[in-house]
Symmetry: D2
Subunit: 356 residues, 4 copies
C-alpha cells in the first residue's frame, strides 16, 4: 500500500488493518469504525478469550459483520495495526507489531509519555523505553504535522484528551502562562473497560457521583507534557456509559475578555474538522455536552467568564470511546497513511439520546 495523495474518494487505495485486543470496548469501537471506513479493510481482529467466535457474539452492534476473532499470537502482515490491549501489553509486543505493520497505533498508556523518567514517575518500569521518544501523540489538534508517516502512534488518554482540548486555545493565546488551573472531570463507566468487577456492577455504579483517583491521576502527566503546565486534577464517575466532560477553572495572571476567549477558540479550532465551540447561546444545550457527541469523533469545547473571581471556566465534552480512544486512533491513522482526515469518522450524534 502506498497512498500519497489520497483524498478519501473512491479511487484511493485501501490499507489492510489488524485490531489487537478487539473484544474490549475500544477494540470493538475500532471494528465499528473500520467497517465503515472507505480506505481500510480489516484483515484480523484478535482476542485470546474469544478466538474463533464471531465479533458479533461480543459486540452486538456488529452482529451483521462476517468476522471472527483470531488468536493474538498469529499476527498477519498488514499496513496498520491498532492495539487496544490493557496498559503494559504493548511495550512487550511492540517489536513484533512493528514487524507486522508499517504503522502501529497503540491505544494504551505505554507510549504516551516522551521519556523513561516521566514514565517511571507515573507508572511502573517500561520494558521498551527506546520507543518512547519516537512515538507520536495521537491527538491531531496538537500533533497533526508529526503524524504524517508516523510509524508508532500513541493514543491519548480520554481524560487528558478532554482536558487538553478545553485548554489548548488558552495555552496558545498565552492565557495559561502563570495561571492556576483546576480540572474537574466527569466520566462514564465505559472508561473502566469491559472486564467488570464489583465496583462497576450496575447496582453499585448506577447513579453515582464517585470521586476516583481524586489526586495523582496519571493523565496529569500527559496534560503537563502536551500543554506544558501542571494542573490540579480530580475525576468523578457519574451515571453514563460513554462520555468524558472536563471543567477547567483557570485563574489567569492578567485579565481576559470574552472577546479574547472567542478569538482564542476560533483561532485554534476554526479549521478543525472535529472540534466545535459551544459557549452560551439559547436552548437546552448551551455548553459542551457528552451525550450530544456520543458515538462521534467530535469534541465540543466552550467557556464562560467569571468576572467576580477573575476566573475563566472552560468546558469540554467527548465520547471517551471515540475522540478519547478509537476515533482519535483512526483520525491519527488517516493522517499517518495519507487518507482523507475525516474518512470513516463522519458519524453524526443522536438527538434525543439518553445516557449513552
Amino acid at each position: 500500500m502506498a497512498v500519497t495523495e489520497a483524498d478519501g474518494s473512491a479511487d484511493a487505495e485501501t490499507a489492510t488493518a489488524s485490531v489487537v485486543g478487539a473484544s474490549g470496548f475500544a477494540g470493538g469501537e475500532l471494528l465499528r469504525l473500520l467497517a465503515g471506513h472507505p480506505n481500510v479493510e480489516v484483515a484480523q481482529a484478535t482476542s485470546r478469550e474469544y478466538a474463533n467466535k464471531t465479533v458479533g457474539s461480543v459486540h452486538p452492534n456488529l452482529r451483521g459483520l462476517d468476522l471472527r476473532f483470531s488468536e493474538p499470537s498469529d499476527l498477519e502482515s498488514v499496513d496498520v495495526l491498532f492495539a487496544a490491549a490493557p496498559h503494559g501489553v504493548a511495550m512487550d509486543h511492540i517489536d513484533a507489531w512493528q514487524d507486522a505493520a508499517d504503522t502501529v497505533v497503540d491505544l494504551s498508556a505505554d507510549f504516551r509519555l516522551d521519556t523513561e523518567p516521566q514514565y517511571d514517575e507515573w507508572y511502573d518500569g517500561h520494558t521498551a523505553p527506546e520507543y518512547l521518544d519516537d512515538a507520536v501523540y495521537a491527538l491531531p489538534e496538537i500533533s497533526r504535522d508529526d503524524l504524517a508517516g508516523a510509524e508508532l502512534i500513541a493514543g491519548g488518554g480520554c481524560n487528558a484528551t478532554a482536558t487538553i482540548l478545553g485548554l489548548l486555545p488558552l495555552q496558545t493565546a498565552g492565557v495559561l502562562d502563570g495561571a492556576d488551573v483546576v480540572v474537574d472531570v466527569k466520566v462514564g463507566s465505559s472508561e473502566g473497560g469491559a472486564s467488570g468487577g464489583k465496583a462497576s456492577s450496575h447496582a453499585e455504579r448506577s447513579g453515582v457521583v464517585r470521586p476516583y483517583a481524586p489526586t495523582g491521576h496519571r493523565h496529569e502527566a500527559e496534560i503537563e507534557q502536551e500543554l506544558g503546565l501542571s494542573v490540579s486534577f480530580t475525576a468523578h464517575a457519574v451515571d453514563m456509559v460513554r462520555g468524558a466532560s472536563a471543567t477547567c477553572h483557570v485563574f489567569p495572571d492578567s485579565p481576559v475578555s470574552k472577546g479574547d476567549l472567542w478569538s482564542a477558540y476560533r483561532e485554534t479550532y476554526g479549521d478543525e474538522p472535529f472540534v466545535e465551540t459551544v459557549a452560551g447561546g439559547s436552548g437546552v444545550y448551551r455548553y459542551p455536552e457528552p451525550k450530544a457527541v456520543a458515538g462521534t469523533n467530535n469534541a465540543e469545547v466552550g467557556f464562560e467568564l467569571d468576572p467576580g473571581n477573575e476566573r475563566v471556566v472552560t468546558f469540554s465534552a467527548i465520547d471517551n470511546v471515540m475522540k478519547g480512544s478509537a476515533g482519535q486512533a483512526v483520525h491519527a491513522a488517516n493522517l499517518a497513511l495519507g487518507f482523507a482526515e475525516t474518512a470513516g469518522l463522519q458519524q453524526l450524534g443522536m438527538h434525543p439520546v439518553g445516557s449513552p
Copy 2:
C-alpha cells in the same frame, strides 16, 4: 429528478427533500439521516416555533449543519416531503403537501389505517379520508412491492412496527391461525415526543415501569390490519430514551418445533437488510435488545419455545425513532424513489452503550 434504476452509487441522481415538523424528535432524526444520504439533498426544514434558528440550536447533534428552520407555511417544491407533525396535522395539509412534492411520507397516524371506519374506531374524525385507501404502509418488510412509486406513504407506529416484525414470520408460516396472542411492549421516553410535560419530567419518568394505555392502545389497529389478527396489547414505559421492545406470548392452535420457528424466521427475514434474528446463543446479548440497535434502522427479532405451556415467545427490538419512525420513512422513500434500499441507513449501533 427522475431516477429509474438508481443503485446508490455516486452517479445516481439526487432528490430534493423537505422535512415538515423538523424540530421534533422524528424530524430531527430525518435531518440526521438525510444529511448523510447520498441521494437526497434537504431543501427545507420547517418549524413554526423555531423558524430562522439553526437546526443545531434544537438538535445539538446537528450543530455542524448549515441549515435553518423555515416557516411551514412557505413550502418549496421538492421531490419528497417528509412530515413529522403531531397526529391530526397531516390530514389538514395533505392537499398542499401533495402539490408541493411527488412523494409524501407522513410519519403520523393519519394515514396508517386503510378505511374511514377503522380510523373512526380508534381516533377522532378524519378530514381527508379519501387518501386512506391509496396510502401505503411504510414498513418495507410488509409492503415493499407497493412502495415503488408510491405517492403517499404512511409511517407505521413504533409499537406496531416492533410487534409486527416479531410476529410476521409466524403469520406467514400459519402459526398465528387461530392463535391467542398477548403483546407486552416496553418503550422509551422519546416516544412521548419533544414537548415535555410533568409525567415525562426526568424526576418523575426516571426508573419507571409504568403501564400506559394498558388496554385499548391505538397501535392494536395497525397490528390487526397488517397481520390480520387481534392481539391483547399492553405497553409499559421503562427507563430508556430510545427503544421499543415487544414480547409476544403466542399460543398456537397446534404445536410447533424450534426448527419450525427457525425456518419461519429465516424464510421471512433471510434477505431483509434491516432485520436480524437473534435467538439464544452465548454471551451477554442472547435476545433482541433495543440498546444494541439504538441509532440504527435495524430490528432484532427472536423467539423461544415454552414446551410446558405450548407457548411461543417472540422478542423484537427497534429504535423507535429510527426503524419505528424516521428510519422506516427513509427506507420507504428509498424504495418509492428508486434509490438503493439501504442508502443513508447504514449506521452501525454502538457497544457499549448505556440507555440511549
Copy 3:
C-alpha cells in the same frame, strides 16, 4: 425471650437475631430493618469474605452502625436467625441453624417448595428434604395463620411474590378457575445479587430490556404451588436497581366486571397493612409503580379490564429487596415471634425518586 402478646409498644420484650450472609444485598437490608426494629437486637452479622470489617464498609448506608461481620462458622445462640445465603447453602446448614435459633427465616429458594419431587423438578437434589414439609412460606398475605410460632420460614422469590400478590384476589374470587394466565415481569439489577459479573456490569446492564430465562423460570414453581395454577412466565431485566413489576394477562373462563375486580381486591387486601390497590385514577402514578414503593415493604397492586379481548390485566409492584426478600422476612418473623405485624417496617417511600 418469650413474647406472647406483644403489641410493638415500648415494653415488649426484645428478641436477639443473627443475620447469616450479611454482606449481600438481602443481608444488608435485613441489617437496615433490624437496626430500626423496636423489638429486635442484632447479635451477629456473618460474612466469610468480610469477617471483622464493619458492616458499613460494605453497606455505606450503615456506616453509622457499630457492628462488625463475624465468621459464619461461629454462630451465637439467638431467638431468630435470618439466612441470606445463596441458594443451596441453607439446606446444608439448617440443622446447625435450628440448633442456634428458635426460629429460622431462610431467604433462599431451599425451603420454598413443599415436596422433594417439586424441588427436583426445578432445582438440583435437596440435601435436607425432611424440612420441606414443615417450612412455612413467608408471604403473610397467604400464610399469616401458619406463621405464628413457625420454626422454619421460607422467604418467597421476588418475582413469585409480585405475581402472587397481583393474582391472589382473582384466585380467591374464582376468576382464575380455568383461566389462561401470561405473566410478564420486569426486574431490577439488585435481583442478581452483589457478586457482579460481566453481564451485570454498568456498561452492559444500563438501559437494557433484556429477556432472561424467557421460559422455565423457577419462580413458576412457587406461583403454581401457592395459587394452584400454571402460568406462562417471562422475565425481563430493565434499568432499575430495586424493583419488580409483574403484569399478568388473565383470560377468565367467564366475563368479569370492573366492579367484580374492585370487590375482589378490596376483600383480599382491605385489611392488609402492606398492600395498596392502585387502579386508574388521575395524576402521574395511576398504576402500581416499583419506584413508588422503593425502600418499603409495600406492594402496590392494580388492574384494568380489556373488554375487546375479554382480558383482565393485573399490575403489581414491589421492592424486590424488601417485600420480595428482607421485608417479607421481617414481616414473617414478626408474626412468628408475636410482635406487632408492622414493627420495623413502617418506612415510607420517597417522592421524587429516580431509579432506586
Copy 4:
C-alpha cells in the same frame, strides 16, 4: 403547645404543623417526614393546584395517608408552619404566616441572606426586608444555638449546604484564611422542582453532564455569608434525581497535613448526629456519595490531600431534598421547638440503590 425539655420520648407534647406548598417536591418530603415524626401532627397541607385532592394523588409514596390538600388562603393556626413555595412567595406572605404560627420555617431563598443589600445583589427587590436580620439560617451545624426558640428560620440552599458542610472544618481550623477555593457541584434533577419544562424532560435530561449557571450561582452568596469567604463556584446537572455533591479544591496559604485534616473534621463533626466523615478506606464507597445518603438527613464529608499541588480536595454529599431542604427544615424546627434533635429524621439510607 409548650415543650421546654422534650427529649423525643413518648410523653413529649405534640406540635401542630402546616405545610404550605405541599404539592412540590420539598413539600411532599416534609409530609413524609412529619408523618413519622413522634412530636408533630400535620394539621394542614396546602396546594392551590391540587386543593381537595389527596396528598397521595400527587405523592405516590403517601398513598396510605388520610390527608387532602387545602387552599393556601385558608390557613389554620398552628405551632409551626413550613413553607415550601417558590422563591418570592414567602416575602409576600410572611406577615400572615407569622400570625398563624409561632415558628415559621421557610425553605425558599427569601430569608437566607442577612441584609437587603446582599439580597439585592443576587436577587430582585425584597418586599419584606425587615425580617432579614432576625431570620436564622437553618443549618444546625452552623446555627444550632440561634435556632432554639427562633420564630423565623430560613432553610439553606442545597448546593450551599453541601459546600458549607464540606468546608466548615477547614474554616474553623483556619485553613481557609487566605485560601483560594474552587467549588464544583453536581446535582440531581429534583433540584429543578416539580414543574417540568423542556430542558428537564426525561429525554433531554437523561445522561447529561450539563453546566448550568457556570458562574454567578446565587448560592455563592450564602456560602460567602456563612463561611466568610468568596468561592469560585460552578454547578453541573448529572443523571440522578436526588443528590448534591460538592467537590471543593482548596489552596491554603500554608501547608496542612492529613492529620490536620482529620483533626479538623473530627472536631467539627465528632458530635454531629447527621454528618459522617468518609475519607479513603477500602471498598466501593471510599468517599462521600449522594446515593448512600438518599432519603436521609445525613451528610457525608471527606477530603484528600494533593501534595503535588499543595491542594486540599474536600467532598461532600447530601440528599438535596432532605439535608438540603426538608430534612434540614425539620432538624431546625426540632431545635426551635425543643424536641429531640433527631426526632423524625432517623431514616437509614438504602444499599444497593440506583439513582435515587
